[in-house]
Subunit: 332 residues, 4 copies
């Protein structure tokens, strides 16, 4: 009898989710498993909305952003009733393994479902935020950095032409990975991150000191500040106005927004998605469940789902040290 | 005796300004003219800040965004005193031809200067807005469309994944070229342009009608609206909130902002910049001044400066017809 | 009774063909016409292989390279027998208008079919070569320039690092449009085009003169030559070896090849494809047939098919003049 | 007294070399060291050709491909006489630390110099091939993958349109990293790598088997094969002709060539270059020499130079396993 497995994508979409779906489907097809894809995240699981997936449909999919299974929030999935309904739906179709591609909210949903369902549950880290413990990187993170960096590269053209201060807001609500690496790779001058933020006054003073010393040395210069979203108390407009007052310069805000979520995945996201997806599909039927497949030091690893969110993931020392040496100081 | 010519870039920077500078310098060098570049737009002309330009420095410049001569606003250039000072500065250096690369404000400055200076003044249309009469396109316009379109391509990934409404604000204060072509080329669903805007209520109704019919036919769908900046009375936040009320759907705003000004120029901007720049440099010493060099129907043309701003440039019929057939209606 | 129309793509694929298909389908759907797409060019017409096309399938298609209808050569379509079979097949399905998207070979096929079929035939110029008379540009041409230029931008990094001579072969069998504009926009140093090629010896001498003068002035320099394919008598390897002998320098060849055909269409190709496709669809049922829809000076035009291939399309003067001023000479 | 350090780039250029130079210079400037850059690799060291480097020149450099210090081969550097001359030149200028950015040939040169010079020698891995032991990745490798993958994405458009077989040759003379990851990330169908190549006959049979099964299942399909350069005994033309004979299909070759070396570095290369460069600059004056700074598992490490070339670097298991699951088999 052929085994049946299901996939869903949940939470914010991330470039590479489709490459991950493809990897799972290809490995399943060679192993003789049927695959179906639930639509709209957990909503499809509750409403029994799905489509069958086969290798043929996976052609030309790797390079596409977004997710062909669609995603959506599903607040009601927190209830026991919902989880029971989902379990019944999975059983009705004969699904024995469920792959959940998403972030920490999606993994909490998966863990909750595991309390009511006997099938195998395997998570795959898909989020641009890289805020999942247990994997060095998450699917979509590399593309989001690239998009942010290419945007800042463009902003720099105008910043240089006008020798102006720009403030660029990047995504990363609770985690500074995207901000830190986006700022470094774009050779920005200053970065304001949740992990390193002390208070408004100190930040403003730091910026002022650096900017003034730079101007003393080199005359008028462009100056680019990266700001993680939702971090500055009064919002980006408040920071713009405070900087304008203190620098007596025009400061222009740029909010990268949802552009950062989309786009054809860069190679590193495609590769991560394929490695994790293919490995995850080889776990079907093994006595392991309630885990996320991640990559650590070049190896595929299995991590119990709760470990992925119990602690917050720290910025890596090497990147922080590099930032300290190259940014946020007058020598940059 | 060798002739001396000067170049300045003024107004908002636009991709391709450097390619235009290079073309002028290369042709001047082969003709035996010396070239200097004033810095920071008209400010450099007032402060006699300039650098010498030669072919060697032009290497590897074509593909760079921004302007190596820097740009800046110069409000005081409107006075007669400033224009007289500029004329004296030009004469002091022996400059006999001045090239001004910029938009309509820059051309007004050039015309004003012409009232006080006997030298030859040649304008080149450099602005992402394409709002200059007398040339089919302006330097920087093609790149700005490309940047907007690539951003919307990315936004669509998320819009499709979540079947959500997105509202994307593009530049183009008074002219809808960037909005119209950006919306068409990105296969957006609706566009709100200064040239075609009647009132808020009509626009909202149009959108609602189209969106509802689309949903009736196809179920939930993504829906992308392009909005020209500074057009909607209450700003983009007001439109978001009105759309959310009426559609009972989440509507996400994306403001492309200054990212649209920068970036390596696409080929069509490089080519336009080179054609206009090279042609302009062949006019040195000819009895023609106070003109802009533009491209019309594949030919280089010379247009008196005042004609470039006296009337506003209309959207072309073919694009508007195409929009009518493909967008802003329920069949899109 | 609902009218039925058909589309096919033929000849080399070109970026923007899908955007053109979409435009035709959207306009047809709003006009109440059914649309089918023949597969594999004229082969599908002979074998009655087709798929139905509707607006829903057109979603997310604009930005995709290639053609969803596939393309192929079809040598046997030259026979009368084939054209009669095609006519019978079209009649069998009740097709009254056929759109052919392709190059001059495809248009000859369309014209041939017209001798045997009473239906309406409308051609759309889809080829990266831009070698179709009656339209300022062809669908796919702008993207091919962009791809060539971005490749040369990359080659220049190495050329500059090693101060080396590179020879880059671009497509454009009989027409130099891609070569000329690719060379200009990439700020290459020399270009060898079918329209301007005299003989090997003259070309070699020109290059040597320019290169030596450049070296005298600036010391070792990088030097990039663009070569149109199939032009140099002994092939690119022969030119490399002759240049190495005469320059006593390493010369590296780069053959861009099929990479130039693919890729997401740039905005200008999307826009051209949409304008022509939408306009073409408004011609359905009008007493006009055997024509190509093109764009001239910003207007949609209808051109009898034979006029598109009877004469070869000349390079435009402005581009050639710009080349003369900026390239192929020692001042570049 | 201020310390003086020197940098050179040697061997094939790689995207990110400039970002690495910038990182070293910024850290040196804050530490009060003077920095000079030797030109043209070891040739500049022999001819005492160099330029002074300061933070100001580093502006806007991170995103540029190639190397501002130029590179070149230097065969004569193998002699003792050359190394002695280089040592004398370094001493003459008072250089106490030399940074060498390059591949294994450059590191052998550095090691050789160390036999004749008492100063500190620090290598940084800059090569697109990733064939350096002691670091997880090399500077330039990520960009080269991206370039290869984007090229294959474009080739696929034509391959799909014509349902044709394409053979794409990528760089990587002795190491399959670029081929393996380029093939995986581009969702190619088959890859021929030095590490896994057995013989011609087996490879041809494998391809034929997979291609025929694919055609049996799905009808005509596109099929993309990645080939590492210099691997197939008779060259790519021989493989094309053998495949055409056996598949009775047209097979088109694409040689990516030098395009792979250039281009603005992707974020991962910029980040790696900055981390390694900044860390290397903190080692100045420490009692450690004759080492390469690499990154392993997210940490900066110092590896004795001979260890970087004594053994060949194996492909990582996870990538090879993923390849086995997703490519080179009939289920792909």
């Amino acid at each position: 009898m052929s085994k049946k497995v299901a996939i869903l994508t949940s939470g914010g979409d991330a470039p590479g989710m489709n490459a991950c779906i493809r990897a799972i489907v290809l490995v399943c097809e060679r192993s003789g498993f049927d695959v179906l894809g639930y639509l709209h995240g957990y909503n499809g699981l509750l409403k029994q909305q799905y489509r069958e997936l086969d290798a043929r449909q996976m052609h030309n999919l790797t390079q596409r952003g977004g997710t062909i299974l669609h995603s959506a929030r599903c607040l009601e999935f927190k209830t026991d009733e919902s989880a029971r309904l989902a379990a019944a739906n999975l059983d009705e179709l004969g699904v024995t393994t469920l792959f959940v591609i998403g972030g920490d909210g999606s993994f909490r949903g998966a863990q909750h479902l595991g309390n009511f369902w006997d099938g195998q549950i395997i998570g795959l880290p898909g989020t641009i935020d890289n805020d999942i413990v247990g994997t060095d990187a998450t699917i979509g993170y590399f593309t989001a950095i690239e998009t942010a960096v290419q945007s800042v590269d463009k902003v720099r053209d105008t910043a240089d032409a006008f020798e102006r201060v720009f403030l660029v807001e990047v995504m990363g609500r609770h985690a500074g990975f995207l901000g830190l690496n986006g700022a470094l790779a774009s050779a920005s001058d200053y970065v304001i991150l949740p992990e390193l933020f002390e208070n408004e006054e100190k930040t403003l003073k730091d910026i002022l000191t650096q900017l003034n010393e730079r101007r003393d040395q080199r005359g008028n210069v462009s100056y680019i500040i990266i700001l993680a979203e939702n971090l500055w108390p009064g919002g980006i407009a408040d920071l713009v106005s405070k900087l304008e007052q203190r620098t007596e310069t025009e400061v222009r805000p740029v909010i990268l927004g949802h552009v950062q979520r989309g786009g054809s995945p860069v190679s590193q996201d495609r590769l991560l998605a394929m490695k994790l997806g293919a490995h995850a599909a080889t776990l079907i039927g093994k006595p392991i469940t309630g885990i996320m497949v991640g990559e650590q030091n070049g190896q595929a690893v299995e991590v119990p789902l709760p470990l992925t969110w119990e602690h917050s993931k720290p910025l890596d020392d090497l990147s922080v040290n590099t930032m300290t040496l190259l940014m946020n100081n007058r020598y940059a």
